[in-house]
């Protein structure tokens, strides 16, 4: 029996499947990566919430994350302008969910989402410190957008 071996150029496909080098190709690839990052943050929000549904999840008597808090946090993420750096997700012992934009320990913004729909934030930029509370009305307050940009500013 004679086996026919296909010509090697028909098996090798690596060089035929490049992502392209045009500006448009780079733009499309960049946008796709941003969407993947955005999706990962939503998945992280799910994971963090699911592991904080029982009381005392931190061994220091933490409160569970409520449905309301999750709902506000989800809407907060939805409201983030596309292309903003993705935050890390966490939770605090009072049951607030947190979003953190971090560059260094001294260049960090942390936002807590409360079950009442308030956004408590604190930011550290070198020696400068600011904190405050903003209501969340399904738009990201301009103050927070400014701080996010400041954390990553050169």
């Amino acid at each position: 029996m004679i086996l026919k071996t296909p010509s090697p150029h028909l098996l090798y496909r690596g060089s035929w499947q490049t992502r392209g080098f045009s500006p448009t190709a780079f733009f499309v690839a960049g946008e796709a990566e941003k969407r993947r990052q955005q999706q990962r943050v939503f998945e992280e929000l799910e994971r963090v919430t699911e592991t904080r549904l029982a009381p005392n999840w931190d061994a220091y008597q933490a409160e569970p994350v409520s449905d309301k808090t999750y709902g506000y946090a989800h809407h907060f993420l939805m409201a983030l302008p596309f292309g903003m750096p993705p935050p890390a997700v966490g939770a605090e012992p009072d049951g607030h969910l947190t979003f953190e934009w971090y560059r260094t320990p001294h260049r960090t913004l942390s936002v807590s989402v409360s079950p009442e729909g308030e956004l408590h934030y604190a930011v550290l930029i070198g020696r400068r410190k600011f904190h405050g509370t903003e209501p969340f009305d399904y738009d990201i307050p301009e103050t927070l957008l400014t701080w996010i940009r400041e954390v990553y500013a050169e």
Binding site: A59, A62, P105, H131
Partner: protein
């Protein structure tokens, strides 16, 4: 454990440990997040003084803290390590009103080295601001 009670006054050069029982309190670069220090439900943050404790004794106390949760949840809970801060560093952290955080010995029957970081303001955002400062000065020590 020490037979003699520790002085309640915590010296400036003492190190206090906040046991890390939640993995995402520590970032991938091994720095500590502010969530680890937010006080709740008590107005103080519970810590343990390193004073006179060998490493294995400190981890035993931390594991007991984690086990309390494990028993409640009927599953194993990991002690990831501790977020260590120097008392003098804690005492230099304050808010815009000039009020500083402090560390005070608060021994418990099961943990004579127990202490508390106190002086937290009541406003949540102000607490976060001080917790950011604390976290920036804290050093994560993985459980050995």
């Amino acid at each position: 454990m020490n037979p003699d009670p520790l002085p309640l006054r915590v010296k400036d050069d003492e190190i206090v440990a906040r046991f890390v029982t939640v993995s995402d309190w520590v970032r991938s670069d091994q720095t500590v997040r502010q969530e680890a220090f937010i006080p709740h439900p008590y107005p103080d943050t519970s810590v343990t003084r390193h004073l006179n404790l060998a490493d294995h004794q400190l981890w035993k106390i931390g594991q007991d803290v984690a086990n309390a949760r494990a028993i409640a949840e009927r599953r194993s809970v990991t002690l990831y390590g501790s977020a260590d801060v120097k008392t003098s560093d804690v005492r230099q952290i304050g808010n815009e009103n000039g009020r500083k955080l402090d560390v005070e010995g608060k021994p418990l029957p099961e943990n004579p080295n127990h202490a508390a970081i106190l002086g937290w303001p009541p406003e949540k955002s102000a607490q976060k601001s001080l917790a950011l400062d604390l976290a920036a000065l804290a050093k994560f020590v993985p459980k050995s």
